[in-house]
Amino acid sequence: MENNDHDNILKPEGSDDDTLLARWLAGDLSQEDLEALRNLEEYPDYVEMLHALEGMEMEEFSPTLAWQKLSPQLAVGSPQSAVDSPQSADFVPTHRDGSLDATQSDEQKEEAPAPLPVAPKQPEAKIVEIGAKQAANPTLQTVHRQPSIVNRKYLTMAAAILLGVVGIWWFAGRDQFSFTDTDYVTKAGEKKEVKLPDGSVATLNAMSKLGFTASDWTDGRTVVLEGEAYFKAKKGKTFSVRTEQGTVEVVGTVFNVYARGNELEVKCAEGKVQVINPEQTERVLLKKGEQVSILGGKMQKRQGLASYPNWFKGESTFRSTPLGRVFEELERQYGVLVLADSLEGRTFSGKFVHGSLEKAVQMVCKPMDLNCEVRGDTVWVK
């Protein structure tokens, strides 16, 4: 077999180097080793292999959703805690055993788990669903074996309370901001840089609203957005942006979220971003330079950013954007009204500046061969 020869070549110049490729991947090779490796016949195979692997990834996973599944199970162990103290985090669990080797621990005897309060979070239908399921079937968990009426009673109570909370939330209206204690709003033509408690930065575009719960910030980095914002999220726990049009989850990265009307558009400038539709039935993972839009419930992923977001640098850039949306942005940036006959089906690629209305209008209208006129607060388009 000819392969045998190659195997020997792999160990360069007599040295029985059995970690060469590993160190190559880690970028730890010396210049000579690297040269030697590159001269190998099989080198291109490895490069091709690793390249193909780049486009493969594990099935998506959301720690937030997984946590929502896990936390009620922890509370099941001692339902009192779920009822009494949904806020208390500083309880002392009672463990009687001595120390235990980590690697053998799954052979240990069953023991009542310490209570964990259901994480104080914005109530969501999801949590209740799970809570209710637990209440109906408390034996679901293998961890705790003390089926009793008391248990069941408490569980039912916990579920009822959760239902009540959600009910209140429901009646409070659909306003996602009813739970935030810190809100920022921008007017037409205004931009605002918001420092979040962990040092992450959100830059708000014109006519947008961003809110978060400062008192709850350490429990989960969640902000609510209406409009458009550019985020620089610090590394750390999952950072989520909720919008009516869907949720965006990241760990630490740079990305732009546009959530207006029935459209959500997310552009990933650094790292990775996960986007979830409002029904939580679909998710998509974006890598650097990718974008996704959810328009009327339909997800569309695109490799290659149509345009790098740079509105915060005083320009709005578009690529194959419906003209109607371009003029809406103009309205928001200048606080004007754009009156146009019919723009249907036309798209615009280009940009307009934020400093001068007259200039901006021409930057859009000229290339589109439109006759535009600025009269006071109104832009007429023919």
Partner: protein
């Protein structure tokens, strides 16, 4: 590989080390869940669990961590989780075949200007790679995928699997050599 600096702030970069805290402290526990649940779940997939099974076993491992919270020091949590979830997987019914499916860069619904055609050759190679990876010996496959998929450094893998860095490097090297051989045979 991209270095993990503050500038890149990559999603794939490891979390900052947690301050010394008690696992029984709920926010700490939750933080640990956010930091490690994905990796534990992926690890189980690499061992051969299907995605839903992997998620269930991951949850079970975390339930056990909660139960054992007083006995597991924070710095031992990682190796605890990987050991426990690995054992849980072994306890499950026999796994004759490794089911390992990856997600691909989906063919573009709307081809972008930069990349108008989905690269068929790459797709074909990815199919073969998927098969080849499933055929790798388990300990090579785990190390290889923790590095390539979870972007963990060798030292991080070593810490989780209770191995020396050198052992991790050897497995990584072998995995590449083997993969290429298997690919040739497909």
């Amino acid at each position: 590989m991209k270095p993990c600096s503050n500038e890149t702030m990559s999603y794939l970069c490891p979390m900052e080390p947690l301050p010394q805290k008690n696992v029984c402290h709920e926010p700490t526990y939750r933080e640990l869940f956010y930091a490690h649940s994905r990796h534990v779940r992926n690890f189980l997939c690499y061992k051969g669990a299907a995605a839903s099974e992997a998620e269930d076993l991951m949850q079970e491992a975390f339930l056990r961590l909660w139960r054992d919270c007083a006995k597991v020091p924070v710095e031992k949590v990682k190796s605890y989780l990987f050991a426990v979830s690995g054992n849980l997987f072994l306890d499950e019914k026999k796994h004759e075949q490794v089911v390992l499916k990856f997600q691909r860069q989906a063919p573009m619904e709307e081809a972008s200007e930069e990349n108008p055609h989905f690269d068929l050759e790459t797709k074909e190679l990815q199919d073969r790679l998927e098969t080849a990876i499933a055929k790798l010996p388990e300990n090579q496959r785990i190390v290889f995928l923790m590095n390539r998929m979870d972007k963990m450094k060798y030292a991080e893998i070593a810490e989780r699997l209770d191995l020396s860095v050198k052992a991790v490097e050897k497995r990584m090297h072998l995995a590449l050599v083997e993969l290429r051989q298997i690919l040739k045979g497909i």
